[in-house]
Symmetry: C2
Subunit: 284 residues, 2 copies
Amino acid sequence: MPRHFGHIPGIVPGATFVDRRELREAGVHLPTQAGVSGSATEGADSIVLSGGYEDDDDQGSVIVYTGEGGRDPLSGRQVKHQQLVRGNLALAVSHRDGLPVRVTRGSRHTSAYSPETGYQYAGLYRVDDHWREEGKSGFFIWRFRLLSLESAFQPEVISAPSAAAVRREMVTVQRLVRDTAEARRIKALYGFRCQVCGEALQTSAGPYAEAAHIRPLGAPHHGPDHAGNLLCLCPNHHVLFDFGTWSIADDFGLIGLPGKLMVHPEHQIDPAQLAYHRARYFQP
Amino acid sequence: MPRHFGHIPGIVPGATFVDRRELREAGVHLPTQAGVSGSATEGADSIVLSGGYEDDDDQGSVIVYTGEGGRDPLSGRQVKHQQLVRGNLALAVSHRDGLPVRVTRGSRHTSAYSPETGYQYAGLYRVDDHWREEGKSGFFIWRFRLLSLESAFQPEVISAPSAAAVRREMVTVQRLVRDTAEARRIKALYGFRCQVCGEALQTSAGPYAEAAHIRPLGAPHHGPDHAGNLLCLCPNHHVLFDFGTWSIADDFGLIGLPGKLMVHPEHQIDPAQLAYHRARYFQP
């Protein structure tokens, strides 16, 4: 079964669970021990805040979550550096891909938002930052900043200062509110290489690319959210495509840039969407 | 006097004005005739929806605004193609730079959100898309999609915002505007060229670059919002910087990439912020 990203149908933020087993049976968080559910290839789909790490910082709509590993199993104390592997790498991949992460708080997690008993589903968050720092123990820990995607928490959102942040926020929101599966599939098909320049940006969370809609989603364009309307692009060529600096002919020749769009044999690009982009966005 | 972006102090969304002259005296929208206030170098700071264009589409929090020009002054009918110049270009620059635009509706503007008489300030919006299409007249028109930045108008928000929420929103918006000024200054200093690769992405709205914070804003980093904590980068190098693929030594030698950061003599980069990025983000 493919990993499920997003809400579990029928389970709304605020839902409570007696124990980890009930949480697992509901599908909210499948591992009964691990705090992170995920893999290095797919990303993390859910986490549980259960009070294990002294360095967690929970402000409700903004959570700074401490990664896993490096603890002595008996004392629970940090005795080694944490590595960017397993659950930590899965959360870094969720950051890279803008995936929604289900967050659940346990009663042993100390915060103003923790339930008195059992576990409480807090809804969807996105990882908007990850970094390494020296924890209270003196060893390196990985930290992940999670921002709530639930509207009730939105007013406190971290400032979005620049065109860059706004642009990436839009990219992220598009990925989140629509089905992310198609975008992920297209990016994987190209190995995260840009269809224009062939470059895949290398990060510690793996290669980075963006799924660009040829005809934009939302009113008044109502572009379809399927592979025929998607391109795999590096951020630079994505910005230039959205601003109409270049477009694509029906034979995939580039217009406004030299060369030809690289197209995978399994990627059926819809000519109607190309015509839409040429007519409305390309500026000779 | 520099063009003022953002709210006018003391004037909240919902404020009403008898006529364009009162709107001008309040500082909300300075031109008494033109629908767009702005310039091609600075961007647009405000618009008025006054019912002149048949193609406007106002859904409250999402407005598709039709550009100016190409109309017969007597009949008001579209008789020529619109060009990406003057007010239209100013709005495209606001899109490129992520600038907040004050929006005011007049009573002759036909929508569920228009006032019965005079003019009503609707608050801040951002331009998130612009394109050219054939209008109802058969001539090309420019269109701009505007999204509300006011929490009260966010469709997801169910209940009326509390005073605290409104205040937080105002603080966030003020911060957005302040951030924007510093980011614009740094980008202009470099002529929108990336400090790593020297490239400036060319769009019809002018060159595009992103202002990157060396130490991130917001909890738990609390990076300062001044030029010493900013870089001018292309989107590709911005993503790679945020993901720790490269960092910067105190002598501006690049770490993880060949070469040296280009630094303008008037740009005083703060070594403490570089040290923060190296320690937490760079991954050898």
